[in-house]
Symmetry: C2
Subunit: 356 residues, 2 copies
């Protein structure tokens, strides 16, 4: 690369791809985008198209008091917990509630464990905007991962606001991780989760670096909450295109505020994208073209790659934030889960796929 | 993955990430996005920010007659050819015009060739919406690649409309490829290019499959013209956000029409994303969060991965279509070029990086 570092006027390439489009940049560097219609995407399976087209029920107004938050949490988490148990039963995944380092967790054991992964463990950190999915509502993604990876999963039911804002959640995940280290070879343990779960997996990895602890052998960061500020192209470009998150303002921002509890959102323990990722293990990242967190995910990928970390990015056409979970039974959902399995196997299975 | 294929109501995961955002889907499956402002991205280098903020001159009205097209081509290509020669001189890349299988090409020889790549070759296919960058204007990307990869490059100056519409361009690239096969071990030859160049590299690979020819050892597809129809989320979501292409309608669509010359745009020899990619070699793909062709690039990546092909996707925050070329001297531009070098080296250099 050294040769290209020689000074060379950028004008040399300005029209390389040439002569296409009106392309008038605004003075301030801000781009004004007119309103537009986004049709259903074509390059996706009929099953995924159906899910993209399906209406997502509105969430109602944002809670204002701790009591209202708790009511909203119960309203969301109670049915989710039931569905989690149904899913586990259907997939043949055994659920066991355990306490690990004082933190409630769920051991998820699939009916079939791959021989090469008998001694392996996946520490799962759930999503839910740092506010939702307490109790059994924490585990649906962990159940899917246990069945797909054919390995045991430990899903962390970390404490959440309004009673337990930051730093309770990352403290709990770290406490569980320290306990895991006492009973497992870290080379046999991977970690991952979606949204807040991806963010917390990143924060835990940063804290391992800071405290000189061993890190997981690999990470899965599903559209991670890597930057809790309203930062990145997709926060603007995909506002309202993302049918799961909608836009930053509103419920999402309220959840973040409730969680951060006044701490600067740019603190790397809240927004790990601002941290030093150079000690991260190999990482697989998943996002979609409508994801409000597409930029956060892609920027995390780039920061890892720039630090020389093995990192893979997968972008799914038409998917909003974490849609691969909602669409887990579609070809694309299975494909996304398959990418995670394949990536983890590269580090957990001696004769696993080394690439392609 | 078989375990997850069991029927399981999607409702089980519908609120997995839970309870965030208003998220009201429209009945027709079309999403109406209001106007918005997109600020300069933060998670990029100051150098790239400057380039993103810099105005790109408007192109004037779309040519209507063959003569007007030729004037527009000359106006764009003449200064580009000069800049190409300057760039080659500055980077120490020797330019040699040659005829290969009756097609004008440029041999680009860097001052330093890596010992492990003395017998290797990169076949470069230039961009320019299938209309622009004839003659020496074809080579700037090839010059960058020659210097960065430290290997010889053969850049194909394929015929273009208005005199030579489709299929002249893919016919020329294929003719050159057949000649290359007579003089090189295909395991030592890679192919790539940006935009139209990426599309033509894909079409050439498809035609190799159809004609039973050996294929390149690896491909670089920079935001490829994989689908010439107005298809994919980013065609809508990134319209006007992409400062290189603007939107599909206008100059871009006119170039495509001039090139396709009445042939169905869904023909895989025009839009290779509709073809069978299962025989493709390992492929590295590059795009950006503002790229009108983000979806085409990501969908190509997914189709390759689903076929079991080794394929890597890199998405750069804030970059429009092919911005990594315009921004080649920024940290992100060098990083993108570095990803291509690293990927090619995996297949061309015996002791090359195997990952990370």
């Amino acid at each position: 690369m050294r040769t290209t570092a020689r000074p060379l006027t950028c004008a040399a390439c300005i029209a390389l791809v040439a002569a296409v489009g009106p392309a008038i940049a605004q003075g301030r560097g801000v781009r004004d985008l007119p309103a537009r219609e986004v049709p259903l995407p074509s390059h996706v399976s009929p099953e995924l198209r159906e899910i993209i087209a399906a209406p997502v029920p509105p969430l109602g107004r944002t809670p204002a008091t701790p009591e209202e938050w708790k009511r909203a949490q119960a309203a969301a988490d109670t049915p989710m917990a039931k569905l989690a148990e149904q899913a586990a039963a259907q997939l043949g995944v055994r659920i066991e509630e355990v306490e690990v380092a004082g933190v409630r967790c769920y051991r998820l054991t699939p009916a079939e464990i791959a021989p090469a992964k008998r001694d392996a463990l996946l520490v799962h950190v759930h999503g839910g905007a740092y506010v939702f999915n307490a109790g059994l509502a924490a585990i649906p993604e962990g159940v899917l991962l246990a069945a797909a990876c054919k390995m045991p999963v430990l899903s962390v039911d970390y404490r959440m606001p309004p009673d337990h804002p930051y730093p309770a959640a990352p403290d709990d995940v770290l406490a569980v991780w320290k306990d895991v280290l006492e009973h497992h070879d870290p080379a046999r343990v991977v970690m991952g989760g979606t949204s807040a779960g991806g963010g917390l997996a990143m924060v835990t990895t940063l804290r391992c670096d800071e405290e000189g602890l061993a890190k997981p052998a690999a990470l899965f960061l599903g559209t991670p909450g890597a930057d809790l500020t309203k930062t990145g192209d997709s926060m603007h470009i995909n506002a309202e295109a993302d049918h799961m998150l909608g836009r930053y303002e509103g419920r999402m921002q309220a959840c973040i505020g409730l969680y951060a509890d006044g701490v600067d959102l740019r603190d790397p323990h809240l927004s790990p994208l601002y941290g030093d990722l150079s000690g991260f293990p190999p990482t697989v990242l998943i996002t979609g073209t409508r994801d409000l967190l597409l930029s956060a995910t892609a920027s995390t990928h780039r920061k890892l790659r720039a630090a020389g970390i093995t990192a893979e990015l997968h972008v799914y056409e038409g998917m909003s934030h974490a849609d691969y979970l909602r669409a887990f039974a579609t070809p694309e959902g299975l494909d996304a889960l398959g990418e995670v399995v394949q990536f983890f196997d590269r580090y957990l299975v001696a004769d696993g796929p080394d690439e392609g």
